[in-house]
């Protein structure tokens, strides 16, 4: 009876379900994988581990892929930091009416409003922001090299502050992905399910469940060394997570933070919930932070962002500024509150 019950809980595998995907390709033809990876093995290993800064930059396939990953990451981090700074600035008058808006904050809010083509916000900040020299903000300078560790900007009028345009300034222009397996390796599994176009929590849960059911029901076929390779590198788990995180970023772009939060949360490998691993990419944490911020859960956004701090496991120089902006916003939102504590 027990066996019958268990069998009833186990979907019948489809013939493959993953045909044409890069995961199936690697499992079926490990020699092709080796031919691609072996000439630049350290770079591919770093890419698999999401250690993008350890991939030598350049026109090699892993170099272009790492640049694309960083560009996507900086897009989300820019969204996080800019939104946090703008929300902090807009909330200052009501949350701290007895304290003037700091000069750096009004100047930052004006520049960000301009960059976002938000003319109404720019008009609000223009009379209040001090004039600053052209080129003060990173985004107005030639695209900077990524610093090993970002430092605050110091200005005689604005004081010391974290430049909120740094992630936008660091973001590389989009480049064409390499052809063939080199362009798809460790990437998503597109087209397996249709994700909803609305921000409906249950609908996006159902879509993610459908993706899982598809992957669970699929099977990889190939020689022993191909299957061992897929297992050792967690290729299915990597591809699943990447599919969900990409969908999360797409949901953010489409103004669907509830679904973005769900997809990123669902992608997370909780055997290492505060670490960057092949499954838990930096983009996963950035998406969690951005979605929580959009939903008003600022303190929860900090939990995700903390993983990416330079002294944390994610180790990205531009995150310090985003973290501090989010921290300021979290403090602002609790400024009038009374703390509650409990034992256990």
């Amino acid at each position: 009876m027990i066996l019958a019950l268990l069998a009833a809980c186990t979907p019948t595998p489809t013939a493959s379900g993953l045909d044409g995907t890069w995961v199936a390709e690697v499992a079926a033809d490990p020699a092709a994988f080796s031919a691609l990876v072996d000439p630049e093995r350290p770079a591919w290993v770093a890419l698999h581990a999401h250690a993008y800064l350890d991939v030598p930059p350049g026109q090699t396939a892993p170099g272009r892929r790492a640049a694309a990953e960083l560009a996507q990451l900086d897009e989300v981090l820019a969204e996080v930091q800019e939104t946090a700074v703008l929300t902090l600035a807009e909330g200052w008058a009501t949350r701290s009416p007895d304290v003037p808006v700091p000069a750096w904050l009004s100047a930052s809010a004006l520049r960000l409003a301009e960059l976002r083509a938000d003319e109404a916000a720019a008009a609000r900040w223009r009379p209040r922001a001090p004039s600053v020299p052209p080129g003060l903000f990173a985004v107005d300078q030639p695209r900077p090299a990524r610093p090993a560790r970002a430092t605050p900007t110091t200005h005689p009028v604005l004081g010391t502050f974290w430049d909120p345009t740094l992630p936008r300034a660091l973001r590389a222009p989009p480049a064409a992905a390499p052809d063939g397996l080199a362009g798809r390796l460790f990437g998503p599994l597109p087209g397996l399910v249709t994700f909803p176009a609305t921000d409906d929590a249950d609908a996006c849960r159902a879509a993610a469940a459908a993706l899982d059911a598809h992957i669970d029901g699929a099977r990889l076929t190939g020689p022993d060394d191909g299957l061992a390779l897929a297992a050792d590198l967690q290729l299915l788990a990597v591809a699943r997570a990447r599919t969900l995180v990409d969908q999360g970023i797409a949901a953010l772009r489409a103004g669907q933070p509830t679904c973005a939060l769900y997809y990123a949360s669902h992608a997370q490998d909780l055997s290492a919930p505060r670490a960057v691993t092949p499954v838990n990419a930096p983009a996963l944490y950035a998406t969690l932070a951005a979605a929580n911020l959009r939903l008003g859960h600022v303190r929860e956004a900090l939990d995700a962002l903390a993983v990416l701090r330079p002294d944390g496991p994610g180790g990205l120089s531009e995150v310090d500024g985003a973290f501090e902006a989010m921290a300021d916003l979290a403090v602002q939102q609790g400024l009038s509150g009374a703390g509650v504590s409990r034992e256990r």
């Binding site: 304290v99 909780l270 290492a272 921290a327 400024l335 009038s336 509150g337 009374a338 504590s341 256990r344």
Partner: protein, 517 residues
């Protein structure tokens, strides 16, 4: 050719082990069964001390203002509030369509009586600090309350989030923790307490007179059953085999297993929690900073953490993702050599296997709550680490009543091992200010008090943030506790429960919207 499939399901042997449990506990279709390590002893918001008590209070009681889904304070039992221009007074208009679960009308008298009881020192309410900002409260008719504040308040609605009790329960003051109300609570909230069962479970039923926000009166879950499952290791298995629908806190080691189940969703919850081993500074030799530092440096914190799960070690009274965590504060090193030097400077000599001073060995008793998950493992390992370095250590595990009596009442402990959980404000003032009502260690540091006062009174976020980072450093330097770690903290809910959003602190704040499939 071989076939590889993702292992996403529990091992079959677990199914065999728990099949009977599944069959024995089939729940009503709209009943939510959730597990706690220990059943709350009372349901009275005036005396809430643990998160388990906070959760049941959330089912039964409401507050004047509450968090909406963006965590902004919105009227709940209030309709509106009008703040005076000097910000020292507020008139709160109350809803006129709310009834207590015994049928009585909710009125201004209930609010005034609750505040009065909380403020009354003789009541010894654990929530006294939450109303300290209110100087006086007066009823204006039945549907309005006037509040006077101690100092100007910018957004007092952010503080008016404590639970309101019926005046009928507070006719005689001071209130007492032992009042019969604790077992027969009457609230205005979405569920009412039906009964405490003999198996330590508590049954709540949907309140038919509940009036939800914005006309949302319907409650998707008709019954809530709190089940005590003392064996934490068993909880995840009960979840996997649908014997419970929710776990409020999953053991870190069980996270990956539950994540791989299609029947379970995990939600970050109670993430602002950290563990500590707090010294009693009112006792010798723990009043001596050198002794506290020595004992701190004897402890291998990562070594204590490793067996119980994944998390981050901490250097002070915040979790590392907090805005207030001072990342420039280094951890005290695990350095037995330096610890020995510190004890020598404090007058101890190593004699044989023990550190001795004035003919007496350095000895201490560690007390820990019996119901705290993993506390036994941690306490025993801590005992082992200290004993190996010449400290005599005894360990006592206390039930809730004994903990309240011995630790909080009598202050009869050397080292208390436990955990604090904070809401998103992460306000540690009560724990570390000389006048704090939850200052377990008895720390008294005027400079620290001044920093905490500055942070409390800060009018802008930048001042509060930098000041509390200084507080982190100062508390670390005072070493009133061995600051241990924050664990990865998630709640689990069955996928049968739909439309779920979990409040990051109270858990059930938005549960009236949940639906059972």
């Amino acid at each position: 050719m071989r076939t590889l499939r993702l292992p996403r399901r529990p091992a079959p042997r677990l199914a065999a082990t728990l099949l009977l449990a599944v069959a024995a506990s089939t729940a009503a279709a709209s009943q939510l069964r959730y597990a706690e390590d220990q059943a709350p002893g009372i349901v009275n918001p005036l005396y809430t001390t643990t998160m388990a008590e906070t959760r049941v209070a959330e089912l039964v009681f409401e507050s004047l203002y509450a968090d909406d889904h963006t965590l902004a304070s919105v009227p709940r039992l209030a309709v509106s509030g009008e703040l005076s221009s000097d910000r020292l007074h507020m008139t709160v208009r109350l809803r006129d369509d709310v009834r207590w679960q015994d049928g009585a009308a909710f009125t201004a008298d209930d609010v005034v009586r609750t505040i009065t009881a909380m403020k009354d020192p003789a009541s010894a309410s654990t929530e006294q600090g939450r109303v300290a900002f209110i100087a006086a409260a007066r009823a204006v008719g039945t549907d309005a309350v006037e509040l006077d504040f101690v100092r100007p308040e910018l957004r007092p609605e952010d503080k008016l989030t404590f639970k309101i009790l019926p005046a009928s329960a507070l006719r005689t003051l001071p209130a007492r923790r032992t009042d019969p109300f604790r077992l027969k609570p009457v609230g205005t909230g979405p569920w009412s307490l039906v009964k405490f069962n003999n198996d330590n479970s508590i049954l709540f039923a949907a309140n038919p007179t509940y009036r939800g926000p914005e006309g949302k009166d319907d409650i998707g879950i008709t019954e809530v059953l709190m089940k005590e499952v003392a064996d934490k290791n068993y909880q995840a298995k009960l979840m996997l085999y649908e014997s419970v629908d929710a776990l409020v806190r999953v053991l870190p080691r069980d996270l990956a297993m539950l994540k791989n189940s299609r029947k379970v969703e995990l939600y970050p919850y109670q993430t602002n929690s950290w563990w500590y081993a707090g010294f009693n500074l009112q006792r010798q030799p723990f009043d001596d900073l050198r002794v506290r530092r020595a004992l701190t440096e004897m402890v291998d914190v990562p070594g204590l953490l490793a067996p119980i799960g994944t998390g981050d070690t901490i250097t002070g009274p915040y979790v590392p993702s907090s805005p207030y965590y001072n990342h420039a504060t280094p951890a005290w090193p695990h350095d037995p050599g330096d610890a020995a030097s510190l004890l020598t400077a404090a007058g101890y000599t190593r004699t044989g296997a023990s550190w001795m001073r004035a003919g007496r060995p350095l000895s201490l008793t560690i007390v820990a709550p019996r119901a705290l998950e993993s506390a036994q493992e941690v306490a025993i390992n801590l005992q082992s680490q200290l004993q190996a370095q010449g400290v005599e250590v005894r360990v006592d595990f206390l039930d809730d009543a004994a903990w309240r009596q011995q630790v909080w009442g009598e202050r009869n402990f050397d080292v208390a091992l436990s955990q604090w959980t904070f809401d998103r404000n992460e306000d540690i003032r009560e724990q570390f200010h000389s006048a704090g009502t939850r200052n377990l260690t008895g720390l008294k540091d005027k400079d620290l008090d001044a920093l905490l006062d500055t942070a409390r009174d800060a009018a802008d976020p930048l001042t509060r943030k930098t000041t509390l980072r200084d507080v982190h450093q100062r508390v670390h330097d005072d070493a009133p506790m061995v600051f241990l770690w924050t664990l990865d903290s998630y709640a689990a809910l069955s996928t049968r429960v739909r439309n779920v959003t979990v409040h990051p602190f109270t858990f059930f704040a938005w549960a009236p919207e949940w639906q059972m499939q």
